[in-house]
């Protein structure tokens, strides 16, 4: 085991060459070397795991979620499905973490209750296990043990993979599962597709395509009967589609079961979802009457939830007679959408044919298609719209609470209730569950949140308009009842008291898992982060040449620092390998088309299948970033890089097997390979201080800055 340490590359390599010459010895020693690789890998990833005892880079981000898991508080994270977060949280759980740590600053010292080691253990373990996985994959691709050993060593000595594995981050887990999936498929056992981040999806697609190709070749095999083909097809469908989907769903199931308390991200979910969480909205809505009836007192929440959640609102202030740009208004009472709970958010559903504002006994429920008036609870004015341009959206109608100025502007306050998610046309309007559009009877305008915020005179609340050209369904036109109670007081004075009192009555409601899952999944996919700028963000093009790095952590006093910085030598060789692979493949392809066969058929098959996995894996894990609009970091490239690294030994072996024909050139090639590998080891040694965070002097740091674009932090001296 000791001889495998990274410090003595020459010796290692001599032994590798030995395997090549004596195949019998190889089999005996393979397992040993696999074990040795694993052990060395574990050491390289687990060594001094709790150093630095401070928040490192994105730990500040994932840490909050771990804390929320510990406290069972619901959250939404758009970076991916919950498996990764849950695994991190599992580490925290096993380490006995109570979730009490304020994740607010990179570099903050951990308090004693944080089990740093166990939080970082799982990613590090996953990172270490990538090494034997790489070895196995190459063996399964039917390459020599020498090549497999090379792949494993390259992964082992890749500084960026080490850095990324040693902290509470998700990439190493992602890479582990990706490699595991590839290996599983290659071994053709059942496929355990786990998803940590959505990047996993791309590899999954690649596997689907490859499986499809294999099946296509099988179709051409005339020896197989139709029945057995159908069986093959079904078996693949089962393993590649149904099992992953089921696993995926089960992660969400666990996620939603674990997180049952309300928390900071409640407001982006629908009222129905919020009501299913403990605390928060559920505390208020528990026990509300379900069916909205004439005389009900309600608050109406806009379903869109963007730019923020808000409720239909009115207050005594009127629209200014003239706006700044000279247009006129009706000067009637403002109607807005207000992002905070307020007594002015209460509205009373009134039957146009009757005067009373209380619920009769028995209550008369409002149904789809009924025509109602909406009375503002505090001011008792009626919700109204008319052919006056709205303040900020002049193409839409102004919505107001009607004041009779005794000019020729009659009240137009009848609204038709349309339940969007109705099951039949006689559905009753239900609290929280029903999504409702209000269609103005006179003008067919639809009550809509325009999303613009009003100027000073409207207290920067959000504008509500009547949309005349209602093009189909849009969430900004849909509202749902959130708080609800049956009104009891006919007198305005009593009613105000009633409006101010908290709601309380009985019935509770639950949401099915699938409904919750669909909503959560949809929110994860559509949630957008606004600010797309970061000091260490980079563009996907910078990654190939590693023109960028990320400073993960800096010791507050000594020069010790940790950077995400790859092994320069490996990155360059990986690029060269990809180029060589592409050029050689094209060359062979064109020559084969002219019926010239440079290499034997089985070697060609080997070459193609290895390329499908490695180049394909690189492409699907890299190119999609060019289409993405999110903030990109160097670590997004690591899965693609892993595949590219696997290509190096493949190309090397191919070159030595098929292009070096004479003994002399073969030994020349081996010597070159040894020299190249020593340079990889050298690069690893050189950059390992910033991988592991060892203290360095200013001069040493300056020496490490091989590229001008690297951001290595050098303290000014003498200041």
């Amino acid at each position: 085991v000791g001889s495998k340490k990274q410090g003595r590359p020459g010796q290692t390599f001599d032994r590798m060459l030995g395997f090549l010459k004596k195949p019998v010895v190889v089999t005996a020693e393979i397992n040993l070397s696999l074990v040795a690789l694993t052990v060395v890998g574990l050491m390289s990833r687990l060594w001094g795991l709790s150093y630095p005892r401070a928040v490192v880079f994105d730990e500040v981000y994932y840490g909050q979620f771990v804390s929320l898991y510990m406290k069972r508080i619901f959250f939404v994270d758009d970076s991916g499905p919950p498996l990764g977060h849950m695994l991190l949280a599992l580490g925290g759980y096993l380490g006995g973490f109570d979730g009490n740590f304020l994740w607010n600053r990179i570099g903050a010292e951990y308090s004693t209750n944080v089990p740093v080691c166990s939080l970082r253990f799982l990613p590090a373990l996953a990172g270490a296990l990538c090494i034997p996985l790489a070895y196995q994959i190459l063996v399964e691709l039917r390459f020599s043990h020498c090549a497999a050993l090379g792949a494993a060593l390259l992964i082992l000595l890749e500084n960026s993979l080490i850095t990324q594995s040693r902290f509470m981050l998700l990439e190493s887990i992602l890479i582990f599962f990706i490699l595991l999936a590839v290996l599983s498929y290659l071994k053709f056992y059942n496929l355990q597709r786990h998803r940590v981040k959505y990047m996993g999806l791309f590899t999954y697609m690649l596997l689907l395509v490859i499986a499809g190709l294999h099946f296509w070749h099988m179709l051409g095999d005339q020896n197989l009967s139709n029945v057995s083909l159908v069986c093959h097809f079904l078996a693949r469908g089962l393993t590649l589609l149904i099992i992953p989907v089921a696993t995926y769903l089960s992660f969400f199931y666990v996620h939603l079961t674990l997180l049952y308390r309300s928390g900071p991200h409640d407001q982006i979910m629908t009222s129905a979802f919020q009501a299913s969480l403990e605390g928060g909205l559920a505390r208020i809505t528990q026990g509300q009457p379900l069916e909205v009836a004439y005389g009900s007192q309600i608050t109406l929440r806009n379903v869109l939830g963007k730019p923020m959640q808000c409720w239909l609102h009115s207050h005594t202030n009127t629209y200014p007679i003239r706006y700044e740009n000279g247009r006129g208004s009706s000067h009637q009472q403002q109607v807005t959408c207000y992002p905070f709970k307020d007594v002015n958010n209460w509205w009373i559903v009134k039957d146009p044919g009757m005067q009373q504002l209380v619920v009769s006994n028995p209550p008369r429920p409002v149904r789809h298609g009924h025509i109602v008036q909406l009375v503002h609870g505090i001011t008792t004015r009626y919700l109204n719209t008319h052919d006056v341009a709205a303040p900020l959206s002049p193409h839409s109608q102004e919505v107001s609470c009607y004041i009779d100025y005794n000019i020729s502007m009659p009240a137009q306050n009848l609204w038709r209730v349309e339940i969007v998610n109705r099951e039949s046309d006689t559905d009753v309007w239900k609290t929280i569950l029903s999504e409702v559009r209000f269609v103005h009877v006179n003008t067919s305008a639809v009550l809509k949140l325009s999303g613009a915020s009003l100027p000073e005179w409207g207290y920067r609340q959000l504008e509500v308009v009547g949309e005349k050209l209602s093009k189909g369904y849009h969430q900004s036109m849909v509202w749902n009842v959130e708080e609800h109670r049956y009104g009891k007081s006919q007198e305005q004075k009593e009613r105000e008291v009633e409006l101010h009192s908290p709601t309380r009555m009985d019935i509770s409601k639950n949401l099915s898992f699938m409904a919750k899952f669909t909503e959560l999944q949809w929110k994860i996919l559509t949630l957008k982060n606004e600010d797309t700028e970061h000091k260490y963000s980079s563009s996907a093009l910078d990654w190939i040449t590693m023109d960028t790095n990320i400073a993960y952590w800096l010791h507050p006093t000594s020069g010790a620092q940790i950077h995400l910085l790859g092994n320069v030598c490996t990155w360059a060789s990986a690029n060269v390998a990809a180029v060589v692979y592409t050029c050689l493949s094209l060359w062979y392809l064109i020559r084969r088309r002219r019926k010239i066969y440079d290499i034997p058929e089985d070697a060609w098959q080997l070459w193609v299948s290895a390329g499908q996995i490695c180049v394909g894996g690189w492409v699907v894990n890299y190119l999609p970033f060019f289409l993405m609009e999110k903030t990109l970091f160097l670590y997004h490239y690591l899965p693609a890089l892993t595949f590219q690294i696997l290509l190096i030994p493949i190309v090397l072996q191919h070159l030595s097997d098929h292009l070096c024909r004479s003994l002399l050139s073969k030994s020349m090639f081996s010597a070159l390979t040894v020299a190249w590998f020593s340079s990889v080891c050298f690069a690893y040694r050189t950059f390992s201080p910033v991988t592991y965070g060892e203290p360095l002097s200013v001069a040493e740091l300056k020496d490490l800055r091989w590229k001008d674009s690297w951001n290595i932090l050098i303290r000014k001296q003498g200041h």
């Binding site: 296509w216 179709l219 051409g220 005339q222 139709n226 869109l304 963007k306 730019p307 700044e324 949140l449 325009s450 999303g451 100027p455 000073e456 050209l469 093009k471 189909g472 849009h474 900004s476 600010d531 700028e533 970061h534 000091k535 064109i590 088309r593 002219r594 019926k595 289409l627 609009e629």
Partner: protein
């Protein structure tokens, strides 16, 4: 007429091809191919006539600006007036519109301000007629393409009738728009490509060269109208690669011959279109030589080319000096000038100091005075004092000339980009504080060098906080007069957002030099205009709450586009496909996929078919049908990945392909046993599409009166989908 001439050539193709192929026996001659499509010339005449009649019917109606005519008509006028403008599309389409207008006697004086403006005495018929002419050509083109691919007259006729009776295609062809022009070139390219493929057995013959180079010409045309033309380039490119691969595998062909094939394609499909494409830009820049509304989008160097621009033929001092009055332009595309005015940031938006913004138009408020950090303006204006130049690395202050406030920044968050710092105008009469100090640096220069007006790329670093002056490109709300936000970014990165150049430069103490040295080369102009177009295109983002058209709406004809009129009393035109035609197309695509997959599987399984059937199936379903289906995919799928605003009319190129597929597909089994039922089905198809055309024709030809939701409307009962708004 032109299409007839094309048809004449087309006729000789298939006949001679069959003659040539039989002796070789390469593909087995099927029953289908052996039957000469008798009467195809008469049919061509008929469909051409019908097509022109349907497109030119009621062309002058409505006599007002409809929908995007307001843009493209206006741009046509710009060409006639030779004023420079900016648009996100390449120039060919608008140049042709301008040319058509010019030739038909339109003088370019109509302002095309907004949809609904009446044309009055202005001659707009030339431009509409030109678009309608190109739109009419689509039908004969599609007819000939399908005839060539399937060798079946009924198939070609079905395709032609589908297109003739499609209300959507008619509407889109009747107005001054880019789409008919784009689709003309697109279908032209497809037709030439198909023709060229059928000449494959006679390579390097005159007709082969003709069709190959026509393909190239049409590709250049398609690319020159809209960047969507790229999809047809892709289609032709894939087809060419496939052909070359085929030739490479043919061992009887020597490598030299293969090289000739390869070079011929490089010449006709790459070099020729590229030359034409560049040439049309050359014409574009030669014609538009006067300053106009598009100036501000381009760099200072570019503007110096335009007659009437304040940079044209001017002479200004070359090096920046203290005391100079300058304007600063942001280097991002459409970046704007550094601007300030007598208005404060509103309460709650950073510190309540004077606004500093970026403004696209030329204005007195864009003027700034350069001062030393330690002395006052007064000293500099003293005519006796010597001129002192600003050098790279100097620390300066910038005073706003109109308001005498200094450019200032501090650690308050910027109004829109919260992670940046706010930039304000601060101080009275040029006296401020140390937060007014900026270090001026030229990109890629050493310390102590002078700074050149216009040519030096400048970075202004705030001394106190280390942040860099930049423009975020976001539009401020009403309080900021919808000008562009200026911030100080703490992220030290080299982007055009944080680089500036000096444009105007006034200093009476310095000698002026001519700016002809600035003159950009044609290649630079070409590159710059493409950068601006691409930025402009990706800048067309939907607003947050806007209801936009989604690509999945399109094939199901979910929602149309209002071309003209909203209310009952208006003359209304509504762009909507003929639902029968569109749903038939949709159905056919599904059916085609099913058939293609099963055919492929059957062939792969090696099911025993007669070689005739086998050849037929693979040729018609996979090869010919595959080409058309690929065309549909290439013109449709990319829209799912586009972030920009999408409209219903983007689907029409794809719709042409799906119509051809429908025509081809329904004639697939023709010639075998069930001829009568087939014919019945086809007649039924013709009848259905023409009948539904009769029902829906008011959508294209205009309607007045009650909306379709009103039972008294003649269109009542035709609103088959709630989302249709007519």
């Amino acid at each position: 007429s032109m299409p007839a001439a094309g048809g004449g050539r087309a006729g000789s193709g298939p006949l001679r091809q069959r003659g040539a192929r039989r002796p070789q026996g390469a593909p087995p001659v099927s029953a289908l191919a052996s039957r000469a499509p008798a009467g195809w010339r008469a049919a061509l005449g008929l469909v051409t006539l019908l097509s022109f009649a349907s497109r030119f019917h009621r062309l002058p109606e409505p006599p007002h600006v409809c929908w995007d005519e307001t843009h493209f008509g206006k741009m046509g006028s710009y060409y006639i007036n030779r004023t420079f403008f900016f648009d996100v599309h390449p120039p060919l389409g608008k140049m042709l519109i301008g040319l058509a207008g010019y030739l038909s006697g339109y003088d370019g004086t109509f302002p095309f301000q907004k949809p609904g403006d009446r044309y009055e005495q202005h001659n707009y018929m030339g431009m509409r007629g030109f678009c309608a002419f190109l739109g009419s050509c689509l039908v004969p083109f599609a007819y000939l393409t399908v005839l060539e691919l399937s060798k079946s007259l009924p198939a070609a006729l079905l395709t032609a009738f589908i297109l003739i009776f499609d209300t959507g295609c008619i509407t889109l062809s009747q107005y001054i728009l880019l789409d008919p022009i784009l689709m003309f070139f697109l279908m032209g390219a497809v037709l030439s490509m198909v023709k060229c493929n059928s000449c494959a057995d006679r390579p390097f013959s005159a007709s082969w060269w003709l069709w190959l180079s026509l393909t190239g010409v049409n590709l250049a045309g398609a690319m020159g109208v809209k960047f969507v033309g790229l999809f047809v380039v892709l289609l032709v490119g894939l087809n060419t690669i496939y052909n070359l691969w085929d030739l490479l595998g043919n061992l009887s062909l020597s490598l030299v011959m293969f090289g000739k094939h390869f070079l011929a394609r490089v010449l006709c499909l790459i070099l020729l279109p590229l030359t034409l494409y560049v040439a049309m830009f050359a014409v574009h820049f030669a014609v538009l030589n006067k300053s106009g509304p598009g100036d501000g989008f381009f760099s200072s160097a570019f503007q110096s080319q335009l007659i009437g621009n304040n940079l044209h033929n001017v002479s200004i001092p070359e090096h920046l000096a203290y005391g100079s009055v300058v304007t600063m332009k942001n280097l991002r595309m459409a970046g704007g000038y550094l601007h300030s005015h007598w208005h404060l940031y509103p309460e709650g938006v950073g510190a309540r100091q004077q606004q500093v913004t970026a403004y696209l138009h030329k204005d007195l408020n864009n003027l700034w005075i350069i001062k030393k950090h330690d002395s006052d303006t007064a000293d500099l204006l003293d005519s006796s004092s010597p001129v002192e130049f600003v050098r790279h690395g100097d620390i300066i202050r910038l005073e706003h000339k109109e308001t005498s406030r200094n450019l200032h920044s501090h650690q308050h968050e910027a109004p829109l980009t919260r992670k940046h710092f706010q930039v304000t105008g601060y101080g009275i009469n040029g006296t401020g504080d140390s937060n007014d100090f900026w270090r001026i640096e030229v990109v890629g220069r050493r310390a102590g060098k002078l700074i050149k007006v216009l040519r030096s790329k400048i970075r202004l670093t705030h001394v106190a906080t280390g942040c860099i002056l930049g423009s975020s490109g976001k539009t401020l709300p009403k309080w900021g007069w919808e000008q562009v936000e200026v911030t100080c970014t703490p992220y030290v990165k080299e982007t055009p957002n944080s680089l500036w150049n000096f444009e105007d430069h006034i200093n009476p103490k310095l000698p002026n030099i001519s700016l002809d040295v600035l003159k950009p080369s044609f290649v630079e102009i070409l590159l710059e205009s493409h950068m601006v177009m691409i930025r402009g295109n990706s800048g067309l983002k939907p607003k947050d709450n806007e209801v936009t058209s989604k690509p999945w709406h399109w094939p199901i004809n979910y929602q149309g586009l209002r071309f003209s009129g909203v209310n009952e009393t208006d003359y209304r035109v509504y762009l909507l496909g003929n639902p029968v035609v569109w749903w038939l197309n949709l159905f056919t695509i599904g059916l085609y996929l099913l058939i293609a997959i099963s055919t492929a599987v059957v062939l792969k399984r090696g099911v025993q078919l007669t070689s005739e059937h086998k050849g037929e199936l693979s040729r018609v379903v996979l090869r010919g049908g595959g080409q058309v289906a690929l065309g549909w995919l290439l013109h449709y799928l990319p829209f799912f990945m586009m972030g920009r605003v999408l409209y219903f009319h983007h689907y029409f190129p794809a719709m042409l392909f799906s119509s051809m597929l429908t025509g081809k597909y329904w004639m697939l089994g023709e010639g075998e046993a069930e001829t009568r039922t087939e014919n019945c089905a086809v007649l039924d198809g013709h009848f259905n599409s023409s009948h539904s055309f009769y029902l829906f024709h008011p959508l294209s030809y205009g309607m007045i009166g009650p909306m379709a939701s009103d039972p008294s409307s003649p269109m009542a009962g035709l609103r088959w989908m709630d989302s249709w708004e007519f």
